[in-house]
């Protein structure tokens, strides 16, 4: 089932997962997950809660450790080598459900901190890049405020800017709109759409079916730690093959 939409993408995959297995104690969270993600592809992952979709994308930048199988990101295999892990994390940006902005730093400092300490950019250049990204996500006027002074939607847009500031090749989104009020969801989704159009490789865990339909190149449906169904959004929403997928779609649509 891997690479169903590979025809559009001529390059080598940028993320390769082969037979990835993970357990939390006795609980088997990920079961033989194999998937390739190609540069510039937008992959949306959906599924019921507890199906392992968040755990899966957290394995890709080693926030969780997988116990079996291999994950290769941009030619580097994720193992126990701290240098490899650091190299992979430099290439991957991540946006969390709870934003996780640093509350003791201003918006600008949140975005420039890692640029300076990880990318070793000069202070001025880091600040400039931060301002540029704040303009791109539409809130340059909030630069001097602290995260606690912003609305949820604004915070999430800052979090996206913070991840983009590292110039990642891949962006992971872990339910980026689940903690937001309905009227703020749109502003975040709009930023993500623009990002997808600009050619960023994205893995998005979300419950926003509209976003999946509109933006995704490929949809993966997770259930009980397995990829049950994978395909283009049209194929997935109009003509689901698997019983579980049909049941899930009937409940949410």
């Amino acid at each position: 089932m891997t690479g169903t939409s590979a025809a559009r993408f001529h390059d080598e995959p940028i993320i390769t997962c082969r037979k990835v297995n993970k357990w939390f104690g006795d609980f088997h969270v990920l079961k033989d997950i194999s998937v390739d993600v190609f540069p510039q592809e937008v992959v949306v992952i959906i599924g019921p809660s507890g199906s392992g979709k968040s755990t899966f994308i957290r394995c890709i930048n080693r926030l969780e450790e997988h116990q079996e199988g291999e994950i290769i990101v941009d030619g580097i295999e994720l193992g126990h080598n701290v240098r490899d892990i650091a190299a992979i994390r430099r290439e991957i940006g991540m946006v969390f459900q709870q934003f996780n902005l640093f509350p003791h730093l201003t918006v600008l400092e949140n975005i420039s901190l890692a640029q300076r300490w990880v990318r070793h950019r000069p202070h001025d250049e880091a600040d400039q890049r931060a301002m540029q990204l704040l303009e791109r996500v539409g809130i340059p006027e909030q630069a001097g405020k602290y995260p606690g002074q912003l609305s949820g939607g604004q915070q999430q847009r800052v979090a996206i800017a913070r991840a983009l500031a590292m110039d990642p090749k891949i962006m992971l989104f872990d339910e980026p709109t689940s903690a937001l009020d309905p009227e703020m969801i749109k502003e975040v989704l709009d930023v993500m759409k623009t990002l997808a159009l600009s050619g960023m490789t994205m893995l998005v865990v979300t419950h926003e079916m509209g976003f999946a339909r509109e933006v995704a190149d490929r949809v993966l449906f997770f259930d009980m730690g397995r990829i049950v169904e994978a395909g283009t959004p049209e194929h997935f929403f109009e003509d689901p093959q698997h019983e579980r997928t049909k049941l899930f779609l009937s409940q949410i649509l």
Partner: protein, 592 residues
């Protein structure tokens, strides 16, 4: 008379009703009732306090003990166990208070610093992923915070410190004598440092290498010392030699294969040995330049050479004098003394500090503008060290007196400085004048039952310091643990996802947020330590409270005495609270 109901209902009753309405609305006004209540409380309090104070003053007057400050300048008439040389029984009560206050401040300041360091370390250890470290710290905290401080002070004083040997048999560190340092040890240290460096670079292949290395060093040391116990160097058929040979070969083999075997069991594939050689005997093997293999091969060769006496066992001869004396009369430490040339050297050192400041600021700006990481702390430290070393050299090169007048057998004799030194005739005072170096470290020097030179730490101070530090550190450890746990895990994940290293995450993300939670309760523990220092009286340390008690007993001025004690502890506490509040304000979060 009508009740104080709302008068609006009876508008017909005229002017009387209006007045009545105004009175009731004033009396039943919440603001008026609050003010009235406060006035009542103040009146009751003032009455009670003034009654107590007048009674007390009357009683004291009848005994001729009216509180006053006049007695402050009277002769104290008592000695303080731990006092500077200017204090004697002829000094005034006021001076006795000063001595006590200085003693309290000494133990409090030393205790605050030590308990912070210890507490933070134990707090971090409580969260260690290492089971042993975590459990030991847990036991430390649970035992020590659940026993009374007074009991702990008694244990430190009577059981630990006072059971140290008497002065004549004092434990000396290091032991006096001659130390022969085998050059082999330096080699071990070098190899260990190299191995540690490689281990830090994060290649898990290095972990078994490190473990193997440590085992090998231990095994060979034990083997060598065993071999040396045997009568003669020797014969190729002696059992010791065969054991040594077998052990060395075994270790060499282990060094070659062990990392590969462990690697294979963990990763299920042969250890990649970099040069594409096929695995040997089914498993991979370490490269020859793997440090452990090379090291052990060297050991084998070196051991054989030493065993057959082909080369002398080279060792550095170091004469050792005791620097620290531990006894039940106290702990005696060497004293650093300034000689006549100190000021000249201090000028050079000051120049170094200035240069360091300039370098720090300059590279700070370079880092800001170019983003290039500059190890400016290292550069600045280097500048200070270089200036200090150069200054030392220049100052020491200045010519000094060649001859000196010393006392020999009761007569003044002029002899050359070197000769006088060799005969041990130059007194410390003379040495301070003629020495070429700006600082000298004076070893503790016995003179009868006391030490004439050296820093003395009394058993009482030591016990109180240890007791306060260790007791308070357990509470601080728990506070630090709670503070770190209070930082949401998402913060750490966000920092990791951005690629910040562990130490960067700790420094820039976790600690600034943890401190916000840590500082207020930490300030409370600081206050506790300061106030608990008055338990000094139990073990006879001459702190402020103990001195004040003596003063009160002798002068009968208990009211003034207690007031002075309260004021002094209040001042110390306010200073500590002010400090923590100031720090606390700097770590508050800005929210909407």
């Amino acid at each position: 008379m009508r009740g104080p109901g709302p008068s609006r209902k009876t508008p017909s009753s005229g002017a009387y009703a209006t007045v009545w309405h105004e009175i009731t609305s004033f009396v039943f006004d919440l603001r008026f009732i609050q003010v009235l209540g406060q006035i009542a409380v103040v009146i009751v309090l003032v009455t009670l306090v003034s009654r107590v104070v007048t009674d007390m003053l009357l009683a004291l007057n009848q005994q001729g003990l009216t509180p006053n400050f006049d007695f402050f300048l009277n002769r104290s008439g008592f000695d303080v166990a731990e006092a500077p040389s200017w204090y004697s029984a002829n000094s005034s009560y006021w001076e006795a208070f000063q001595v006590g206050l200085v003693n309290t401040l000494r133990v409090v300041i030393a205790g605050l610093i030590a308990t912070t360091v210890l507490g933070v370390l134990v707090g971090i250890f409580l969260l260690s992923s290492n089971w042993l470290v975590r459990t030991i710290s847990k036991v430390y905290v649970e035992i020590l915070r659940n026993t009374p401080l007074l009991v702990q002070l008694f244990v430190w004083y009577f059981i630990v410190i006072l059971s140290l040997p008497v002065l004549n048999d004092a434990v000396t560190l290091p032991q006096e004598g001659v130390l022969l340092l085998p050059i082999r040890l330096a080699l071990y240290a070098l190899v260990l440092i190299l191995a540690l460096r490689q281990f830090r670079q994060g290649d898990p292949r290095r972990l078994p290498v490190l473990i193997g290395l440590l085992a090998a060093v231990a095994a060979i040391e034990i083997g060598l010392s065993g071999a040396q116990l045997l009568p003669a160097r020797g014969a190729i058929d002696s059992p010791a030699f065969l054991v040594y040979l077998a052990a060395s070969l075994l270790l060499l083999g282990a060094a070659w294969f062990l990392p590969a075997v462990i690697w294979q069991s963990r990763h299920g594939e042969a250890l990649p040995n970099g040069n594409g050689e096929p695995p040997l005997l089914g498993v991979g093997y370490s490269r020859v330049r793997d440090p452990l293999a090379a090291f052990l091969a060297g050991q084998l060769a070196g051991g054989l050479i030493a065993y057959f006496g082909l080369a002398p066992v080279t060792a550095l001869r170091v004469e050792v004098y005791p620097l620290v004396y531990l006894s039940n009369r106290g702990i005696f430490l060497p004293e650093i003394m300034l000689t006549a040339r100190f000021n000249e050297w201090a000028a050079f050192a000051g120049l170094g500090l200035l240069a360091a400041g300039v370098i720090w600021a300059y590279y700070g700006r370079v880092m800001e503008t170019t983003g290039r990481a500059v190890p400016r702390l290292r550069y600045a430290a280097l500048a200070v060290l270089a200036c200090a070393a150069l200054g030392w050299l220049l100052v020491a090169m200045e010519p000094g007196p060649e001859i000196i007048t010393v006392e020999q057998d009761g007569a003044a004799v002029v002899m050359s400085l070197d000769e006088a030194r060799a005969q041990g005739l130059v007194s410390l005072q003379d040495e301070l004048l003629v020495s070429r170096s700006p600082l000298i470290v004076a070893r503790p020097e016995r003179k009868g039952l006391r030490f004439a030179v050296g820093i003395e730490i009394t058993p009482e101070f030591m016990s109180l310091f240890l007791g306060l530090t260790i007791y308070t550190s357990t509470f601080i450890a728990e506070i630090v643990r709670a503070g770190i746990l209070a930082v949401p895990h998402g913060q750490i994940e966000a920092a990791r996802a951005l690629g910040l290293s562990q130490s960067q995450t700790l420094r820039m993300v976790i600690l600034p947020q943890a401190l916000r939670v840590i500082i207020p309760p930490l300030g409370n523990q600081y206050l506790n330590l300061a106030k608990n220092s008055s338990l000094a009286i139990a073990i006879g340390f001459a702190d402020f409270y103990q001195v004040a008690t003596t003063v009160m007993n002798q002068s009968g001025q208990s009211v003034t005495g207690i007031s002075v004690v309260m004021l002094a502890y209040l001042a110390i506490s306010l200073a500590i609270a002010g400090g923590t509040n100031w720090v606390n304000r700097r770590f508050q979060l800005v929210t909407r």
